[in-house]
C-alpha cells in the first residue's frame, strides 16, 4: 500500500569491504604486526617439521631410536655430533630431533581428548544451569582438588608406565579445566540479547548451544588449547623424568633430561639440550596462544 520510501542507507558509511580478507591473509597480516607471535609461530613450525620429518632430518636416526655406540660415549659437541653424545654414545641432536614427534603427538592427543570431553559437558552445565550445573561442578572439583601431576602419577602407576598411559592420565587431569572454561563462557553468553532472540524464535536448545554459545566461545578455547599444548609437553616430560612416561630407549625430552642428570657437571649437554627443547616448545605455544585472542576476534574483519 504505502511504498517504503525510507532512504536505504546502502552505500553510505560504513562502506562495504570490496573483498573481505580470508583467514589466511588475516593471520599473515597479524603475524607481521606481532613479532612475538611470529616468533612463537616460527618455533611451532619448527617443532612440527621435526615431528613429521624427524627420522629423515636426524643424522643418526637409529641412535635416535636407541641404538648405542659404546665407542662414542659422552663426547662433547663437535663436527660429527653437533650436540654431543650421551652416556650410551647416542647422538644427542638426533635424539632431540626425534623426541619432537612423541612430544607433539601426545600433547595434541591429550588436549584434543580433554577438549572433547570437557567442552560438551561445560556447555551443557553452563547453558542449563540448575542441578546439571551443580553436579558437574562437584565432579570437576573432585578432579581439580588433586595437584594435576599427582593425579597423573596415580593414574600411570595404576595403568603402568608408558607414553600412552601418561597421555591417558594427563587427559583425565586436564578435561575439568575445559569444562569450567566453557561453563563460565556459556553462563555469560546465555544472557546475551542474541541468545534471548534465538530462544524467542523457538530455536531448539541444542542448536542454540552449538550455533550461538559454542561458536562464540571458540576463541578462549583455542587460546587455552594452544597454551595447553605447551603445558602438556612439559607435563609429559615431567612424567617421563620421574620414570612414569616414555620408557627407555625411546627418545623423549623429559626422559633424556633424567638420563643426563648424573652427568650435569661432566657432560652438561646430555640434559641441557633436551631441556632447552622443552623450554622452546612451551615458549612457542605460549607466545602464539597469547596473541591468538586478538587474531581470532571477528572484528578483525575490516569494515
Amino acid at each position: 500500500m504505502i511504498p517504503i520510501t525510507t532512504a536505504a542507507p546502502t552505500g553510505a558509511a560504513p562502506s562495504p569491504a570490496p573483498n573481505a580478507p580470508g583467514p589466511a591473509q588475516l593471520l599473515l597480516r597479524a603475524l607481521q604486526r606481532d613479532r612475538l607471535a611470529a616468533f612463537g609461530a616460527a618455533i611451532i613450525l619448527l617443532v612440527l617439521v621435526l615431528a613429521v620429518f624427524g627420522q629423515w632430518l636426524a643424522p643418526f636416526p637409529e641412535q635416535g631410536m636407541g641404538a648405542t655406540n659404546a665407542s662414542a660415549r659422552n663426547l662433547a659437541p663437535d663436527a660429527a655430533h653437533w650436540l654431543g653424545t650421551d652416556q650410551l654414545g647416542r647422538d644427542v641432536l638426533s635424539r632431540v630431533i626425534m623426541g619432537a614427534n612423541p612430544a607433539l603427538t601426545i600433547s595434541l592427543l591429550v588436549v584434543t581428548a580433554a577438549a572433547l570431553i570437557g567442552i560438551p559437558l561445560g556447555a551443557l552445565a553452563g547453558y542449563r544451569g540448575g542441578w546439571v550445573d551443580e553436579a558437574l561442578m562437584r565432579v570437576t572439583e573432585v578432579f581439580q582438588a588433586f595437584p594435576p601431576l599427582l593425579l597423573a602419577m596415580v593414574t600411570v602407576s595404576i595403568l603402568g608406565p608408558s607414553l600412552t598411559n601418561a597421555g591417558i592420565a594427563l587427559a583425565v587431569s586436564w578435561w575439568p579445566w575445559y569444562a569450567r572454561l566453557v561453563r563460565a563462557e556459556a553462563r555469560s553468553l546465555r544472557e546475551r540479547p542474541y541468545v534471548e532472540a534465538a530462544r524467542a524464535m523457538g530455536i531448539p536448545p541444542a542448536l542454540i548451544v552449538g550455533r550461538h554459545i559454542l561458536r562464540n566461545c571458540l576463541t578462549p578455547i583455542l587460546v587455552q588449547a594452544t597454551v595447553d599444548i605447551g603445558s602438556v609437553i612439559l607435563a609429559a616430560g615431567s612424567l617421563a623424568f620421574i620414570g612414569l612416561g616414555t620408557q627407555p630407549p625411546l627418545p623423549d625430552w623429559g626422559l633424556m633430561v633424567a638420563e643426563g642428570r648424573g652427568l650435569i657437571f661432566s657432560a652438561w649437554w646430555v640434559s641441557t639440550f633436551p631441556g632447552l627443547a622443552i623450554f622452546l616448545a612451551v615458549l612457542g605455544f605460549n607466545l602464539l596462544g597469547d596473541s591468538l585472542r586478538d587474531l581470532l576476534d571477528p572484528r578483525q574483519v575490516k569494515r
Binding site: 525510507t6 532512504a7 542507507p9 553510505a12 558509511a13 560504513p14 562502506s15 569494515r303
Partner: protein, 316 residues
C-alpha cells in the same frame, strides 16, 4: 560576562603509526561564559564527546589535538597549585565510582588531592557538598558503597565530587542518558540551580534535543566534527537555519501521532571525515547545490543571536 572557556579551531586527529586515520573534530570554536550553560548537541560521530575531553586534555591514545583551548583560571582559587578550573561528570554514574570504596572515601580522596585539610574538616566538607546536591541523608550516602545507591543518587554524588574541586567550568557528558526521565529532570534542575548559586559555567554534551532545550542557555549543533549552527536555545530550536538542525527537529516524534510520517534525514553520517570536500552534509541535504561540493561553509552570523555554517543560509 567573564569568559571561562574559549576554544578556537580545535581539531582532533587519530593516527596509527604515523598515518592520520581520521579527524573526528575538524575545527570547532566555542565559548562558555560564567554562569551560562552551553549545550553541545549532535548525533553519534559528530565529535561532541571528544570536544569535551579535548577541553580537559584527556584524549584517548592515538589522538592528537591542535588548536587553542584556554580556560580562564580564577586567581582567587589558585591554592596548592590547583587553579580549580574544570571538572567533568560522565555519563554512567554506576561505573564512574570504584565499587570497593565508600562514597565518602572516594569524595574525600578527591578533596584531599585538591585542597589539603585535616580529616574531620574534610568529612564535614564532603557532607556539606553531598547536601548541596540534594541528597536527603548525606551521612548515609557518605558511608554507602556505590551498589547501594540508585542511579540518580550516584549522579548527584558525582556532581558533588566535581564541585569539591571548586571548578569554574563544569563539563557534563550525557549526564541524563542512563537515568529515568523523572530522575533526569531532577538532575537538570539541580545543575541549573547550582550554576545560578555558584556562578560556574557549564558545557552540557547531549544527543537529546529535549534536554538541551530544557536547561541550556545557548547551544552549538555539531555535525561531522564542526559546529554548523549556534545561538541561543530559543533561536536555534524555534528558528533553525541550518538544514541539518531543521532535519533533526523535524525528525522528532514529539507532538506527532501515527498519521504523520516523520521527516527522517536520508542517509547516514559520513564515516571517515578525512576525505570530505565542501560541506559534510551536502549528500543528505535537500537544498544542496553544486557549490556545496566546492565551498567549505564557515560559521557566520545569521542574526543577533545566531550563527550558521551554510552557504545558502540567507536564501532558505
Amino acid at each position: 560576562m567573564t569568559q571561562l572557556l574559549s576554544i578556537r579551531d580545535l581539531k582532533v586527529e587519530f593516527s596509527d603509526r604515523g598515518t592520520v586515520t581520521n579527524q573526528p573534530v575538524r575545527g570547532i570554536d566555542l565559548d562558555v561564559s560564567a554562569g551560562e550553560i552551553l549545550g553541545l548537541v549532535g548525533e553519534t560521530g559528530c565529535g561532541k564527546s571528544l570536544t569535551g575531553l579535548a577541553a580537559l586534555g584527556i584524549l584517548p591514545r592515538g589522538a592528537r589535538r591542535t588548536g587553542q583551548v584556554s580556560i580562564t583560571a580564577d586567581p582567587a582559587a589558585a591554592r596548592d597549585g590547583d587553579n580549580g578550573s574544570v571538572a567533568i561528570v560522565f555519563q554512567n554514574p554506576g561505573t564512574a565510582f570504584n565499587p570497593v570504596f565508600t562514597l565518602g572515601r572516594q569524595l574525600g580522596d578527591v578533596l584531599h588531592r585538591h585542597r589539603r585539610m585535616p580529616g574531620a574538616e574534610r568529612k564535614a566538607e564532603v557532607l556539606h557538598h553531598l547536601a548541596l546536591v540534594g541528597l536527603p541523608d548525606p551521612k548515609r550516602v557518605y558511608g554507602s558503597y556505590p551498589h547501594q545507591l540508585s542511579g540518580g543518587m550516584l549522579q548527584r554524588a558525582m556532581i558533588a565530587m566535581a564541585l569539591l574541586r571548586q571548578p569554574r567550568l563544569l563539563i557534563l557528558d550525557e549526564p541524563t542518558t542512563a537515568l529515568d526521565v523523572t530522575v533526569a529532570r531532577q538532575i537538570l534542575i539541580l545543575v541549573d540551580e547550582l550554576r545560578r548559586k555558584f556562578g560556574f559555567g557549564v558545557l552540557l554534551i547531549s544527543h537529546n534535543l529535549g534536554v538541551i532545550r530544557d536547561v541550556c542557555d545557548r547551544v552549538a549543533v555539531l555535525y561531522a566534527g564542526r559546529v554548523i549552527e549556534s545561538g541561543t536555545v530559543n533561536q536555534v530550536m524555534d528558528n533553525p537555519r541550518h538544514p541539518y538542525t531543521r532535519g533533526l527537529l523535524d525528525a522528532l516524534p514529539a507532538g506527532r501521532n501515527a498519521s504523520e510520517r516523520l521527516n527522517a534525514i536520508p542517509g547516514t553520517v559520513p564515516g571517515n571525515l578525512l576525505s570530505i570536500t565542501g560541506c559534510a552534509f551536502r549528500n543528505r541535504c535537500a537544498y544542496a547545490v553544486a557549490d556545496c561540493a566546492l565551498i567549505d561553509p564557515v560559521l557566520t552570523a545569521a542574526g543577533p543571536q545566531q550563527s550558521v555554517a551554510c552557504i545558502r543560509e540567507g536564501e532558505l
